[in-house]
């Protein structure tokens, strides 16, 4: 075998695999083992129960929607923070990370207090018949909150590294502002945007702490999938809980895989 330019490949790869195995794969394997007693038929029986299916739909539906919203708003925020200079920019930049730092239970309680019908925001919405807390809308709000930083933080470095020459070139070649954005800038930003989207989505799907306070937790209406797991645990049904966990894991993995394929395609599209 030819000598590589960079030394230490074997050692670092071995370390990487061992570390990944220990930190990521081992707990997941334990989960799979715990669930394996159930079998495929049992698994199907669990998912097809109406309350579980409703929770699954809410968890993944709200998470997807929250990630789409975060992608759109996050792109705007990242753009403003990178492209413009204004007083208080650094402060706003620091604020973006707050949802990361806040314990999720604190976030959940704060959001519930705000959006409850007697809260600051909720009391304004109540006369219009809009209920946020204790409805699926509340779930969406909490998911948007916890997923927000991901899109901004993945886009910022890419936006900063973007060469302004290409925009100037586009303009000088007669492209309108919209054309420049859609045909030149957006394709370059798309891979990072998709990464941010995937991260926000993954975080929202698994989120428990903040959502649980605002959700209302009514079966078939506002119950999220992680709560279904907690309910199984409360009945001391470890295998069933693990089975629902495995289902979440597989669905999340498929979603992330799809996004990663989309990303490769978008990169090729950008390099065209």
């Amino acid at each position: 075998m030819a000598r590589r330019v960079l030394p230490g490949f074997g050692l670092s790869l071995g370390y990487t695999l061992a570390y990944l195995g220990l930190i990521v794969l081992l707990p997941l394997a334990a989960l799979a083992v715990k669930a394996s007693g159930i079998g495929a038929a049992g698994l199907w029986k669990i998912v097809s129960a109406p309350p579980v299916f409703a929770a699954l739909r809410l968890s993944f539906g709200a998470a997807l929607l929250s990630a789409v919203i975060n992608a759109a708003v996050g792109l705007l925020v990242a753009w403003v923070l990178v492209r413009y200079r204004f007083p208080g920019r650094r402060l706003i930049d620091a604020l973006v990370d707050l949802p990361f730092a806040l314990p999720t239970a604190v976030a959940g309680i704060a959001l519930t207090a705000l959006y409850a019908p007697n809260g600051w925001v909720g009391s304004w919405l109540a006369p219009f018949g809009i209920k946020v807390a204790f409805t699926p809308l509340g779930v969406l709000i909490a998911m948007i909150f916890v997923g927000f930083p991901f899109v901004v933080r993945t886009l910022q470095p890419v936006l900063e590294a973007l060469d302004r020459d290409i925009e100037e070139a586009a303009t000088s070649l007669g492209a309108s502002r919209l054309q420049t954005f859609v045909r030149v800038l957006f394709p370059l930003l798309l891979p990072a945007l998709l990464t941010g989207f995937a991260l926000a989505l993954a975080r929202a799907v698994g989120e428990y702490g903040s959502v649980i306070f605002i959700a209302g937790n009514i079966p078939m209406k506002s119950e999220i999938l992680p709560l279904v797991i907690v309910k199984q645990l409360e009945q001391f049904k470890y295998a069933d809980a693990a089975a629902v966990g495995v289902i979440m894991l597989v669905l999340s993995f498929l979603l992330l895989l799809a996004i990663s394929l989309l990303q490769r395609w978008s990169r090729r599209w950008a390099e065209r």
Partner: protein, 335 residues
């Protein structure tokens, strides 16, 4: 989440406790694994017991307490949390620990009153002036009334609520299984939020202003009223309710391993002494001791009660009502 954090902190504190116990060999420590609302009660009971033990035996006993949802706490003990004694919300949670062989099967016969040193019942907390005119269980299913209770699937307290409502319907003239099912199904149609635990429901009712009635442990309702404003809430005692019996047990496997059986048993026996019974009354738990009961008679109005025996015991109630596919699932809550 919050309780997890608390438990983590507690876990690290426990290690400190273990280290300290190792340094001073004569001292004993106990771990009491309990449920959420007993925090204040066991703080006082443990202090009183430690003083008594010091006087009688000359040893210093340190009692650590862990609090959380009853089912979650039972799981921690099964998963290896070394509890010398468990003091949980319902016998079923201790039965599950016993099923794993950690506690002898006859645990409920080892102490007086089914191993229950104090009791409580399920009452209604309503807003000041009782604007919806709630007097009894059947008022809860009137149009426009919203009821707050935690989810019976995740909360021990909520199971007491559910069974209390069921028993009420069963005991009405002409009441039978079908009528009870109909009543409880109607009741849960009036529930807009199902929190995972009793404290969560109290917060939803008191702080978020949701609902007209909170179904709660009497001790929790009295505490909420005491802490959050006597002028804002009233307690309504229904015509009939369930006698909630939160039992206690020594965890045999753990005390035999740690050699702490004597002090653990003394601790639980202490709960039945007039002194501890008085403390229980102070913390809004109904004491068995006559003197303590007389002292707090004004706090606890007389209420007709039935017990879990009505449902054939906890194991049977759990299997019939709260297991997956059980009656609660068949009620179609939220549909």
């Amino acid at each position: 989440m919050l309780t997890n954090l608390r438990r983590t902190l507690l876990g690290s504190l426990l290690w400190l406790g273990v280290a300290a116990a190792g340094a001073q060999a004569a001292d004993v420590s106990l771990l009491n694994v309990s449920y959420d609302p007993t925090r204040e009660l066991y703080k006082d009971v443990s202090a009183a017991f430690a003083a008594q033990w010091k006087k009688d035996k000359g040893d210093t006993v340190t009692i650590n307490a862990s609090h959380g949802g009853s089912g979650k706490q039972a799981r921690s003990v099964i998963d290896g949390l070394e509890a010398d004694v468990v003091t949980l919300a319902l016998a079923y949670d201790i039965d599950v620990i016993a099923d794993k062989g950690l506690i002898k099967p006859d645990w409920q016969q080892r102490l007086p009153h089914n191993s229950t040193p104090y009791t409580s019942t399920i009452v209604f907390l309503v807003r000041k002036g009782n604007p919806k005119g709630i007097k009894d269980w059947n008022d809860l299913i009137k149009p426009g009334v919203e009821v707050i209770t935690p989810n019976p699937k995740t909360s021990g307290g909520a199971r007491w609520n559910y069974l209390a409502a069921w028993g009420y319907a069963l005991k009405q003239p002409g009441g039978d299984e079908a009528k009870a099912r109909e009543f409880v199904a109607a009741l849960f149609k009036h529930v807009p939020v199902l929190d995972t635990g009793a404290r969560g429901s109290t917060t939803t009712f008191v702080q978020r202003g949701q609902g007209d009635v909170l179904l709660a442990w009497e001790n929790e309702a009295l505490l909420a009223r005491q802490e959050l404003g006597k002028d804002q809430f009233e307690i309504v005692v229904p015509s009939i309710s369930i006698l909630a019996e939160p039992p206690v047990a020594v965890v045999d496997k753990v005390v035999d391993k740690r050699g702490s059986r004597a002090v653990a048993e003394a601790y639980l026996n202490f709960l039945y002494t007039p002194q501890a019974q008085e403390i229980a009354g102070k913390h809004y738990y109904r004491p068995y001791d006559e003197k303590a009961a007389a002292k707090y008679a004004a706090v606890f109005p007389k209420v007709a009660t039935f017990t879990i025996a009505e449902f054939g015991g906890w194991k049977q109630a759990q299997a019939a009502h709260f297991a997956d596919g059980g009656v609660f699932d068949q009620l179609g809550v939220g549909q």
